[in-house]
């Protein structure tokens, strides 16, 4: 894992004092709310429905046991004993006091954490593959690249007042576990002629105008990547729309002027920026990469799955929530934060501590946050899986539902969010409860719920997506089918008229039944949908 040096620490410490100063000026009346709002947002502090909300960055979703335990401590000391893990691999707290925020940031800084740029019209937390460093299919570990980008984007003087927020994802495998092409910039690290570099996709996103990012450059060598990104952002900063907040994301610019013209503009700028020497030397990426060297794995034999499965509940979990590791004898564990009937992504301080303990004891002191709002223990010996499962089960964390219909992504919705039009969580609870008995049979089925058109719950990318809207003061839900955030990326399509809360659960049942009736051997829901199209499902839903 990355370890701060004196420079990183000094920058984060200075940020704490800067924010303390800004909060004091606000409380003393030297800043209006209009002036303070962008300052607090750039440190992840929102004003939500019930209180201030603080979003803490988990850069590229990676953290260690000490950091995880600190998150529990903050939940307990400054909030109401829990936190919410988000689709941007961050954690947010819902009940924060403005006056406490500087102290929280000071505590975070001691464990090399911060809330820098977790909101605001700037470059946000760099997201990545939650299996980075453990997946067999990666070209290299993408996290050193993400760390390089984290440093470049932190307080970037030119890109702090962009037209709108800016999200970057980095992956290094063909399997896309980070919804890379649904980001403002998606980078796929590849190797060409022995040199590592990035394929660059620009202009993806969800929100009210979902777009899949087109490829803008097929390869940028590692030693020119920051120059290229500087050019890509500068074109956006200069020409992105500022007249309409709903058209201000880079996807609209790329769409309106076209990928070809955007590419040409970036190339012109890139040629100029390359002369400035803004890319660090190769030694910097090497320095960072050394800190992401694989842990000292033991030479242990692989444990046959059948032998381990002496407990049927464990066997189901072992099949569902454990993924192959590149190191023989090791496995990747995904801890589900989606208990049936629970709140997707929420974890209590006690549960966070349990996961911290397990990481330290069994996973080389590493955890990951996934964009699907789960937690990963990336490096667990197969021989330890049963012990890990037992500890998780004791803490209510052993739901065996990874990528099944109850592994729902849901935004906080109208229960917490001031932008929401409808509640998301109660719907997630009803759906999980209704379908849990048959979820193994339904197989991989990614269901995603957003409580408004901003799409924080990724509904466009759900095999089944749900969008909550406000219809004349009551909550109404639209149903979408056929989306995917993975390497087979696609955007869901609306089935037709919306439903009330119970109506949409029934509609999903009819969709599930039709899938079961139509599926071929081994076909996922998404595959069946793509083969037979929307019409049979529409007939099933609306009769």
């Amino acid at each position: 894992m990355y370890k701060y040096d004196e420079y990183d620490q000094s920058i984060v410490d200075a940020r704490v004092e800067e924010f303390r100063d800004q909060v004091q000026r606000r409380l003393a009346g030297q800043l209006t709310e209009d002036q303070f709002k962008p300052l607090r947002l750039m440190n992840g502090l929102y004003l939500q429905l019930h209180a201030y909300m603080l979003r803490v960055a988990v850069p590229y979703g990676t953290l260690n046991g000490r950091q995880m335990r600190l998150l529990a401590h903050i939940a307990r000391t400054y909030d109401r004993g829990y936190g919410h893990f988000t689709t941007r691999q961050n954690i947010q707290y819902n009940w924060i006091k403005l006056a406490d925020a500087p102290d929280i940031l000071a505590e975070l800084a001691k464990a090399e954490m911060h809330a820098i740029q977790t909101s605001g019209n700037c470059i946000r937390n760099i997201s990545s593959d939650q299996f980075a460093g453990a997946a067999a299919d990666e070209v290299t570990d993408p996290r050193p690249w993400a760390e390089l980008l984290r440093q470049w984007s932190t307080f970037h003087p030119e890109f702090t007042y962009l037209p709108r927020k800016f999200k970057i994802a980095v992956i290094a495998a063909d399997e896309d576990r980070a919804a890379m092409r649904l980001h403002d910039i998606g980078l796929q690290i590849t190797r060409r002629d022995g040199i590592l570099g990035a394929r660059v996709f620009v202009g993806g996103g969800m929100g009210r105008t979902p777009m899949i990012a087109p490829e803008i450059r097929d390869f940028v060598p590692a030693d020119q990547l920051l120059s290229y990104l500087e050019a890509a952002l500068r074109v956006y900063n200069r020409y992105g729309r500022r007249d309409n907040i709903y058209k201000a994301r880079i996807k609209i610019l790329v769409h309106e002027i076209g990928a070809d013209r955007y590419r040409d503009e970036v190339e012109l700028e890139f040629a100029q920026v390359l002369t400035l020497g803004i890319d660090p030397p190769a030694a910097e990426l090497a320095r960072i990469s050394a800190m992401f060297a694989p842990p000292a794995f033991d030479a242990v034999p692989s444990v046959p799955h059948e032998l381990a499965a002496h407990d049927p509940d464990f066997a189901i979990w072992r099949t569902q929530n454990v993924s192959a590791h590149k190191q023989p004898g090791y496995a990747i564990v995904t801890v589900s934060l989606k208990p049936i009937g629970g709140i997707p992504g929420d974890a209590s301080a006690d549960q966070i501590n349990v996961m911290a303990d397990l990481a330290e004891r069994y996973s080389h002191d590493e955890l990951r946050v996934t964009h699907a709002q789960n937690i990963v223990l990336p490096h667990v010996r197969e021989a330890d899986l049963y012990a890990v499962w037992q500890a998780l089960a004791d803490a209510g964390l052993a739901e065996a539902n990874l990528d099944l219909i109850s592994d729902i992504i849901a935004c906080p919705g109208l229960d917490y969010c001031s932008l929401a039009n409808a509640r998301s969580i109660p719907l997630a609870q009803k759906i999980a409860t209704r379908f849990a008995p048959r979820q193994q049979d339904l197989g991989e089925l990614k269901l995603k719920i957003s409580g408004c058109i901003n799409a924080c719950g990724h509904h466009h990318a759900g095999h089944i997506g749900i969008l909550g809207v406000d219809r004349k003061g009551t909550e109404n839900y639209q149903l979408l089918l056929g989306g995917s955030g993975a390497e087979d990326v696609s955007l869901g399509k609306i089935t037709g008229p919306g439903f009330d809360e119970d109506g949409i659960v029934d509609a999903i049942e009819r969709v599930a039944d039709r899938y079961v009736a139509e599926r071929s051997e081994g076909e996922r829901f998404l595959d069946t949908y793509r083969r037979i199209g929307m019409q049979p499902f529409k007939e099933a839903i609306y009769g």
């Binding site: 709310e33 429905l49 229960d415 509640r423 109660p426 003061g473």
Partner: protein, 98 residues
């Protein structure tokens, strides 16, 4: 009736204008008639509230009930965590929201 709400600048708590001061309980909300904007500006200037806005509500025997579900959720707390609402012991509180 029109009532005035916002968040306490320092704590972030949801608060309601009672006619002379701010209260955390919507039951205390007073009808501000057409004075809401003026009170909001003065109170924001005094840094006792942030993000103040006027909403429609109906007077009921139990006190004012905000017209929109969003403000009823603000008044009570998250419907999915009754234990964290202002009325954790009242099982009927959730139906007041819906």
């Amino acid at each position: 009736m029109k009532i005035l709400t916002g968040n306490d600048l320092a704590t972030g708590d949801v608060i309601w204008w009672s006619g002379a001061a701010w209260s955390r309980h919507v039951e205390d909300a007073a009808d501000v008639a057409d004075q809401g904007e003026a009170i909001a500006r003065a109170e924001e200037g005094a840094r006792r509230v942030t993000g103040a806005y006027v909403i429609d509500a109906t007077q009921t025997p139990d006190g004012p009930r905000p017209a929109h579900i969003k403000d009823r959720i603000r008044a009570l707390g998250p419907t999915v965590r009754p234990d964290l609402t202002l009325k954790p012991a009242d099982p009927a509180a959730g139906s007041w929201v819906i």
